[in-house]
Amino acid sequence: MRKSLPFLCLSVSGLLSSVQVQAQPAGSPNLLEWVRESRFVFQGTVRKLGAANMAAIPASPANAVVNVDQVIVAPEKLGDFTGREITVALLRAESLEAGQRAVFFTVGWIYGETLAVREVGHLDARQDLGALREQIADARRRNDEQDLAGRLAHAELVVVGRLVRIVPVRQEETHLPVTEHDPDLRRALVRVETMLKGQAPPNGLVSFLFANSRDVLWDRSPKPKVGQNAVWILSRDERKGLKLDALTAFDPLDVQPRERQEVLYRLLESPL
């Protein structure tokens, strides 16, 4: 079963302006980094300090039981924890007081009858979370573009074109062992329409390997189809355990809708 990481409650804005928010306890937080690192962002009220509401949580004065007042960002598969009390492992025990409300940026920690999360950072509580939601959505988009820019920088070729043929790859070519994690490599041929990076081959066809396997190690890897018109970000991907001397598209970012080619072009021209 394919899994994705859609995030709830995000309304992507087109704003590219820098984010200025007041951090707690002091200084300007790097919201971009907080958004990159955190998975669960919510506004909550501290119910009890130095406490936890799951037996499995190791005791610590930095633990706090926090009521989730409003969820701002959460993995879709987590479900709705609005109104529920969870445990937050604070960065600093004294940074909040009982009864205080704040916006928490957190990552997962322990999942039992309820949640326990670790704080990445927190902000003062807001009456109107709309602006913060937009800032977070913008940071999220910028992070995505940073990731994409990284793939583009790593790529040997970035090709806009249509996939015209897929052929199996013989084991003699790859010398891969017999394993349940076999990537089931296939060779894809793409007729080049535009080269965003690198030189087009004389015949106008670019070939690359992709993993057709639905094994756990390859399930998220792109599974191109014949006729697919896309932007192909091709690199000599050196997954450390897989030594292939060929262009590959293994990363989920390596196949982009051709509608994004303007964005990709911009990122290639002006890396973040």
């Binding site: 079963m1 394919r2 899994k3 990481l5 998975r39 669960f40 799951m54 037996a55 499995a56 949580i57 190791p58 993995p75 598969k77 987590l78 479900g79 709705d80 924890f81 990552v107 997962g108 920690w109 322990i110 999942y111 039992g112 009858e113 309820t114 949640l115 326990a116 999360v117 062992p177 017999v178 394993t179 349940e180 994690h181 076999d182 990537p183 396997s213 639905r214 094994d215 756990v216 190690l217 399930d219 998220r220 997954r239 450390k240 355990g241 897989l242």
Partner: protein, 835 residues
């Protein structure tokens, strides 16, 4: 010692029951969906599970599956339970989380007694990238420590234990089978002889266990099995052709003795060709890359288990293609350390996968597998647990019977390439993955869910319980409490004090906390002083589960002081066929003490005196007093409870009355006879005295010496105070007045005297006492002067009752200081009156 009636009553009242017949018992099976409640929304394919139960504390359980961190964090989670698998949490402590599946492969195991958790994983963000990890405390929710980091490895499978005794005692021994695909002889076991605390790489080194040529590599599964005596087995597929979808393989078993120390640790078991590794079967066709139902087949199905009772006995299981389209599991056994194997299958299961073997401490083998049944849309995955004592007769418990087509898989994994079964003591623990629709009929052995479910509609509910959730694959932990008896004796037996030479008894409760009937064949004692009374119905005694039987233990003390013995209960408890119970007793004797003063003091003759004395037992058991007596007329025992038994540490009172039959000091022996072995007769001298007598004497006085010249016969009168201080002796203080008539021309002479006499009664027991007396005195003669003198005398005394006596006395007085000498004698009759 209790009377039979009392014993019978105690049997009725005790929470015990004697079962009349042996009732067959079923194993207690629990099946638990371990996805936590907070993950009720999840729809993952949580397949290929593994489980580790801490042998030193089976309440601590860790489990794994293809479960990603629910928030796509950097670490993959394991499932954690600290209550024996009843409740679970997810704790992300494994590096390399893939957002969809967590890790690539993962297995985990605890050390035998260390509590340290070891995992072998393929990290989820790379390809065939092995990590061996360690957590000193898996409950702390902190990332595991990386010990080994290596590439081109597949399917790490961890087994671990702790050396219990001898060289290396206390050290964790960890064996991780893995397919080192950098070599054509790829079957490998990484081992560490001291993995718990050593720094990275914690002593781990890879050892190739394949010794023969291969078609390029060995198969993915390499499974170790450890015995506490240091024997370590390994099993793998030696691939001889690699043409998918049908590989050709030999099933090879290797063995290491002595924990696998040395340069070639797995060379103890040789094949017919003289190379290390015994081929159980050869030339088998093993499907690869095809599916059984929605579950892929990747030549990953091997298992091996060694009998904890003897490392000679080892079971193995493998899968292969027997016909054209099947996938068949085979179970076989060796009783000679892997040299020879049963010629045919002990168990053959068609169209099944994920074999897992384990053997409990009773030698009972468990076999877990998942079988595809039915056809088309009616196909189901049935998860079976088979168990057998002999490899021939097998029970069959159906743990899950779930649809094979729901959920529909979008990946190549469905149930996974393995599950796991292990045994601790006599109990089995395991894990499998299955479709998670909460349809109770799909779990014939029962099931509990932590995630929100509606069993009435058979639907999964979301985390807010406001909507349904699509079916998916979940890991299911299960435990099987074997229907074995389990003897439990609540502590030793202390019979307390017992009299030397006598019997005392107490109760030894033998309880059955197991499931099957406990049969007690005999109870023996290491000392003849302690015996266990055979029940009226004799042995064997059958005790139903959750009941106790009160055996009567009899203590016959041979001597004083503490005594002990060991009782050995022989029963059918497979883990404790001979249970030792300490029994204690203390031999004791009675010890008589007669307390209280035997002196009754001064008692008037006009009344009587009483005194209480106590006869006490300061020993450890009861004192039997036969009699107490005082053989004198003056002393009588007016309260005499004897014969009687005096309990230890208690007393009984004697009351002595003194009624003087004669005046003076009286004494008498009080004699107490008992069974005190050291002092069977105790004597105490009772004493008492009467107060002094007052006497009046009157009679005639006759002058002698110079006095005779001036005086003639006169009268005399004496007042005496007589104080007997011995039976024969008394002080006699006399105040006398005499008046002698004057002779012619002489005035009368008055004489006043005060003398102190000692009085000796010659025959104090006779009715008429004869006594002598003598003393010194002062005399005042008028006319005359004060003079000093003395007197001697004798007399007769006739007691009249105990209060009066009559006396007739004669005394002769003579002065020392007068010159010429003044003397007189007295003849008197007197009356003595006792106070």
């Amino acid at each position: 010692m209790k009377s039979p009636r009392v014993l019978f009553s105690s049997l009725l009242l005790a929470p015990c029951l004697l079962a009349a017949t042996v009732q067959p018992a079923r194993a207690q099976i629990r099946v638990i969906d371990i996805v936590p409640n907070s993950q009720s929304n999840e729809t993952e394919i949580d397949s290929e599970p593994n489980v580790a139960v801490d042998p030193s504390n089976p309440l601590r359980v860790a489990a794994s599956a293809f479960t990603p961190d629910p928030m796509s964090g950097p670490n993959a989670p394991i499932y954690v339970s600290t209550d024996g698998g009843t409740t679970w949490t997810l704790s992300s402590i494994v590096p390399g989380n893939d957002p969809t599946f967590g890790t690539g492969d993962i297995t985990l195991r605890f050390g035998g007694t260390s509590g340290v958790l070891y995992t072998g994983i393929l990290i989820g963000t790379d390809f065939l990238h092995l990590n061996i990890l360690r957590a000193a405390d898996f409950t702390l929710a902190t990332p595991m420590t990386l010990l080994v980091d290596r590439f081109s490895e597949d399917q790490p499978y961890v087994q671990a234990t702790t050396v219990l005794s001898g060289s290396g005692a206390g050290s964790d021994r960890v064996y991780i089978g893995n397919n080192n695909l950098a070599n054509s002889q790829s079957a490998t076991i990484d081992l560490s002889l001291d993995a718990a605390t050593a720094p990275t790489p914690a002593g781990f080194s890879p050892f190739v266990i394949e010794t023969r040529t291969t078609a390029g590599q060995d198969g993915p599964p390499i499974r170790p099995a450890i015995h506490s005596d240091g024997t370590v087995y390994g099993i793998f597929y030696r691939l001889t052709t690699l043409t998918a979808p049908n590989l050709t393989a030999d099933v090879v078993v290797v063995r290491a003795d002595g924990w696998g120390t040395g340069a070639t640790p797995f060379a103890a078991l040789l094949g017919a060709d003289g190379l290390a590794g015994r081929q159980v079967v050869t030339g088998r066709t093993v499907p690869f890359g095809i599916s059984l139902g929605q579950n892929r087949l990747v030549a990953s199905n091997l298992s091996i288990a060694v009998d904890p009772r003897s490392s000679d006995r080892v079971y193995c299981a493998w899968a292969d293609l027997v016909g054209a389209t099947d996938y068949t599991l085979h179970v076989r056994r060796s009783d000679d350390r892997g040299v020879t194997w049963s010629a045919s299958d002990l168990l053959t299961i068609t169209n099944a996968t994920n074999p897992a073997l384990a053997i409990n401490t009773g030698g009972r083998v468990g076999f877990l597998y998942q079988q595809l049944t039915g056809a088309g849309s009616s196909q189901r995955w049935q998860t079976h647990l088979r168990r057998s004592n002999d490899g021939t007769a097998w029970t069959d418990d159906l743990l899950a019977d779930t649809p094979a087509n729901t959920p529909a898989s979008t990946t190549s994994v469905y149930l996974g390439d393995y599950d796991h079964l292990m045994a601790i003591g006599k109990d089995f623990y395991g894990i499998f993955s299955a479709a998670n629709m909460p349809v109770l009929a799909s779990f014939p052995s029962g099931v509990t869910f932590q995630r929100n479910v509606d069993t009435a509609t058979g639907t999964l509910r979301n985390v807010t319980n406001t909507g349904t959730v699509s079916p998916s694959i979940d890991p299911f932990f299960f435990s099987v409490k074997e229907p074995a008896p389990q003897i439990q004796v609540p502590g030793g037996v202390d019979l307390g004090q017992a009299c030397v030479g006598a019997n005392d008894s107490g109760t030894l409760n033998a309880c059955n906390t197991g499931i099957a009937d406990l049969i007690v064949d005999a109870i023996t004692s290491s000392s003849p002083r302690f015996t266990v009374t055979a029940p009226s119905a004799g042995y064997p005694v059958v005790i139903s589960h959750d009941f106790c039987f009160p055996f009567q233990v009899v203590f016959n003390a041979a001597a004083t002081g503490p005594q002990s013995a060991t009782l050995t209960i022989s029963s059918n408890d497979p883990d404790h066929p001979n249970t030792s119970v300490a029994v204690l007793g203390n031999g004791a004797e009675p010890d008589i003490r007669v307390t209280g003063s035997p002196d009754l003091g001064v008692v008037s003759a006009w009344t009587h005196g009483e005194k209480t004395l106590s006869v006490c037992d300061t020993g450890g058991c009861g004192l039997s007093v036969a009699s107490a007596s005082a053989g004198c007329a003056d002393f009588t025992l007016i309260h005499n409870p004897f014969p009687a038994t005096v309990s230890h540490d208690s007393c009984l009172d004697l009351v002595v009355r003194f009624t003087p039959t004669r005046p003076g000091l009286r004494s008498c022996n009080l004699t107490v006879s008992s069974d005190d072995p050291d002092t069977p007769v105790v004597s105490r001298t009772l004493t008492a005295r009467t107060p002094p007598f007052f006497s009046l004497h009157a009679g005639l006085a006759n002058p002698h010496g110079a006095l005779h010249g001036v005086a003639k016969q006169g009268s005399t009168f004496n007042l005496d105070l007589v104080y007997p201080f011995r039976p024969r002796w008394a002080w006699d203080v006399r105040l006398g007045f005499s008046k002698l008539d004057g002779r012619s021309g002489h005035p009368d002479t008055d004489l006043a005297s005060l003398s102190a006499n000692a009085k000796l009664t010659l025959n104090p027991g006779a009715p008429v006492h004869v006594f002598l007396n003598a003393g010194l005195g002062l005399y005042h003669f008028d006319p005359g002067a004060f003079e000093a003198g003395g007197n001697v005398g004798f007399g007769l005394k006739v007691p009249v009752g105990r209060r009066f006596a009559l006396e007739a006395t004669y005394n002769y007085h003579s002065t020392f200081t007068a010159a010429p000498n003044l003397a007189l004698d007295q003849v008197q009759l007197g009356l003595l009156i006792s106070f």
